[in-house]
């Protein structure tokens, strides 16, 4: 991937006006190059093909492979796909419609993008400005971190698996038939991850379990980061008594070992999926709140905030338009780290038998069966744990990549 990223520059400069050598940045001479051949446009109906012909290899391969992946799922699981199409269940409805929508989106995007590439006459200055916006620079730098990019691919793959679970799982994850014959079968071609005490196929359960783990992780972090950001910016911006009260609340929550607090809340409220998300979110916003408060405290002394106040912007706009966006990049990094932590916490709670309750499979509660069975039949715990670990690892690597890419201290140094 990273090799592609590096190769991208010379390839790009074949396009109209994009990326002349850095350093001549200020030159306003609008270099107008001839647009590439519009005759390529019909090829765009196969997503990615026209991009490849135009030399936009990265985008081309992405479109092509994503389309092929979706088509492969449809072809290989044709029966499940057609059954799922007429099934009244929401899971199937989402999975089948997702495939169709994604395929349509690929074709549409491919066509429109090629249309843009073959007609547009970017002038050089605009192209340079676009290529050097902090966002673009961050993306480019992220692309150079091989591990982080690989992690991102793994995460996307896992989310795809989660969405398409009903189409990918070879068996019904909850079906219990003839447990005496099918229980505790080791991994084989019929049952990739083996079977559990009720003879359920563990691979299918793992595929469905991905939904719980990934959804809980992402949503809980969303809750935590949103709440922590609002809480911290209120404390930091208004200061005084409010700051004091809010931060003492944070002190109290930080002093309680998070997992004890989780245990208590989940146990007392007998959490379902939604409650679990809220509980996880509301036990882990404190770090974000403290951090944002610190950032806001230093930001609010800066001139641009003074200017914003001077022109009479209401507090609401100063906070949400000017302060929070400037403090958000490191929050993004810690959010990626938190997703891993949340997924681990959910798995831990489910392992204890108080998080996600059976029959709904989650990677954690697949390991919550009797201790003796877990220790005797190694495959029961091995595979969910491997999936869990690789997901958490991927999010941690992603966070590392984001940290390097978004670090404002080094952001501009290498590219501008």
């Amino acid at each position: 991937m990273a090799r592609n990223a590096r190769r991208k520059r010379p390839v790009r400069s074949a396009n109209p006006g994009a990326n002349p050598p850095a350093g001549t940045g200020g030159a306003a001479s609008a270099v107008q190059a001839a647009a590439p051949d519009p005759a390529l446009r019909p090829f765009a109906l196969v997503p990615g093909l026209a991009h490849l012909m135009l030399g936009r290899r990265r985008r081309g391969f992405h479109l092509l492979f994503f389309t092929l992946f979706l088509l492969l799922v449809v072809v290989v699981r044709w029966r499940a796909f057609t059954d799922g199409f007429s099934s009244p269940a929401l899971d199937e409805w989402i999975a089948t419609r997702f495939i169709l929508t994604a395929l349509a989106a690929c074709v549409l995007f491919s066509f429109l993008d090629v249309h843009r590439l073959t007609s547009e006459q970017l002038d050089a200055a605009a192209a340079i400005a676009k290529g050097k916006s902090p966002f673009r620079v961050a993306i480019r730098r992220f692309g150079e971190n091989k591990l982080a990019v690989a992690a991102l691919y793994l995460i996307v793959l896992f989310y795809l698996v989660a969405i398409l679970a009903p189409l990918l799982a070879p068996y019904d994850p909850a079906a219990i038939e003839n447990p005496t014959e099918t229980q505790y079968l080791g991994p084989s071609l019929q049952h990739l991850f083996g079977t559990d005490e009720f003879g359920r196929d563990l691979f299918s359960r793992a595929v469905f379990g991905a939904r719980v783990s990934l959804a809980v992780g992402l949503l809980a972090v969303l809750v935590a980061v949103t709440f922590g950001t609002v809480f911290g910016s209120l404390a930091g911006y208004f200061g005084g008594v409010l700051d004091n009260v809010l931060m003492r609340i944070v002190d109290v929550i930080i002093a309680i070992p998070t997992f004890f607090l989780l245990l208590t809340l989940v146990g007392v409220f007998e959490a379902n999926l939604l409650a679990l998300v809220l509980i996880l979110g509301f036990t882990s916003w404190t770090g974000t709140a403290r951090f944002i408060r610190g950032e806001i405290l230093s930001l609010k002394e800066r001139e641009f905030i003074e200017a914003a106040r001077a022109i009479g912007l209401p507090h609401r706009l100063v906070i949400f338009r000017h302060l929070i966006p400037n403090a958000l990049a490191p929050v993004l990094v810690s959010a990626a780290l938190m997703v891993g932590g949340m997924i681990g916490a959910e798995a831990g709670l489910s392992f204890l038998g108080i998080g996600i309750r059976p029959p709904t499979p989650s990677w954690g509660n697949m390991m919550s069966g009797g201790q003796d069975a877990l220790l005797t039949y190694w495959w029961i715990a091995l595979f969910p744990g491997l999936l869990l670990s690789s997901t958490i690892l991927a999010f941690n690597l992603l966070a590392d990549g984001l940290r390097d890419a978004l670090d404002p201290k080094t952001l501009m140094r290498r590219y501008v």
């Binding site: 003492r248 002093a255 309680i256 070992p257 004890f260 245990l263 208590t264 715990a381 670990s389 690892l393």
Partner: protein, 331 residues
């Protein structure tokens, strides 16, 4: 020193008060009758409603919430944590019985963390970009990402079930009472190996990463260059000049990592059937044993506050620039 302690303990009081308040309201927000806090729901169903009403009055449950809250705080201040449903005995004695087991795990894990984590961190910083350094960097990230309870399960499967090197669970063998003193100590340590390793290794991974980065930072400082210029041995430069300065923030990290350590201990205790605070909490949640749930949460917080206090004290001892009394020290 005494003044510092007094100040810190006074600071801890409102914190504990806040935690107690939070605990009280979490339990009172719980769906269902607050009566469940005092008497198991299963018991209530078999009892005469009049008797239940009497008990309600006895515990003051017929009074408004704020009165109950003040009363509960009063009991708490006197060390009365109530009585466990499951165990039919005062929660305080139950906790006192369980805390040492958790402390054993936590302290040994921290020791493991300090020895292994810091050593690996130093090694990988000194030999930057070597094979060992790369191994430590990648390995620590992987270990850091693996859920502790799963690692525990895997280690038990490999080392206890298949190889038979270590016991699968519990704190002592069945024939513990018949062993000699040395045998007893050995037996206890033998049972501690796996849980301490699992708990400590994740911590050590974090420490190694942090230590490496800190030491690399410190090694580029001018006083390190100066020490080298004076012709000191590299060993002295690193161990005496760089390390002491790199160590200081590590202590804060230790103080902050305590909540995570105790949290991780919950799952590890469950896997190893280790009768600590965490397992008590898990059992209490499973059995809806409200007084015990509240007490474990309070106790966990007390341990965290104590840990932070200790981190601060060590911090001041290690770093002569910081004084406990707030007075400026002269060099």
């Amino acid at each position: 020193m005494a003044r510092f302690f007094a100040k810190r303990i006074l600071q801890a009081v409102p914190l504990l008060f806040g935690i107690a308040t939070l605990t009280f309201f979490i339990i009172h927000l719980a769906p269902g009758d607050p009566m469940d806090m005092y008497l198991e729901p299963r018991m209530q169903r078999q009892m005469d409603p009049e008797v239940i009403e009497l008990i309600r009055q006895k515990y003051g449950l017929d009074q408004p919430v704020h009165v109950q809250y003040v009363k509960w705080l009063g009991n708490l201040a006197q060390g009365d944590l109530g009585e466990s449903f499951r165990h039919r005995r005062p929660v305080a004695s139950l906790i006192a019985e369980r805390v040492p087991y958790t402390l054993q795990l936590a302290i040994l894990a921290l020791l493991f963390d300090a020895l292994v984590g810091i050593a690996l961190g130093i090694f990988s910083a000194v030999k930057q970009y070597s094979l060992v350094d790369k191994g430590v960097t990648v390995g620590s990230l992987v270990i850091y990402s693996v859920p502790g309870f799963w690692l525990a399960l895997m280690l038990v499967i490999v080392f206890s079930v298949n190889l038979g090197w270590f016991p699968t669970s519990q704190t002592r063998s069945l024939d513990y009472e018949f062993l000699s003193l040395a045998g007893k100590i050995g037996d206890r340590l033998w049972h501690l190996v796996l849980p301490v390793f699992v708990l400590g290794v994740a911590q050590a991974a974090g420490t190694a990463r942090y230590m490496r980065n800190r030491l690399l930072e410190v090694l580029s400082e001018e006083y390190v260059v100066a020490a080298r210029a004076r012709g000191l041995r590299e060993r002295t430069v690193i161990l005496k000049h760089a390390l002491r300065n790199a160590m200081i923030p590590i202590l804060t990290i230790y103080g902050m990592s305590l909540p995570f350590l105790l949290g991780g201990a919950v799952l590890i205790e469950k896997v190893f059937a280790w009768p600590g605070l965490g397992l008590l909490g898990v059992e209490a949640v499973g059995g809806r044993d409200y007084p015990v749930i509240m007490a474990t949460m309070m106790m966990g917080a007390v341990l965290v506050i104590l840990g932070n206090l200790m981190a601060d004290v060590t911090y001041a001892i290690v770093d002569p620039r910081i004084s406990l009394d707030g007075k400026k020290r002269t060099a």
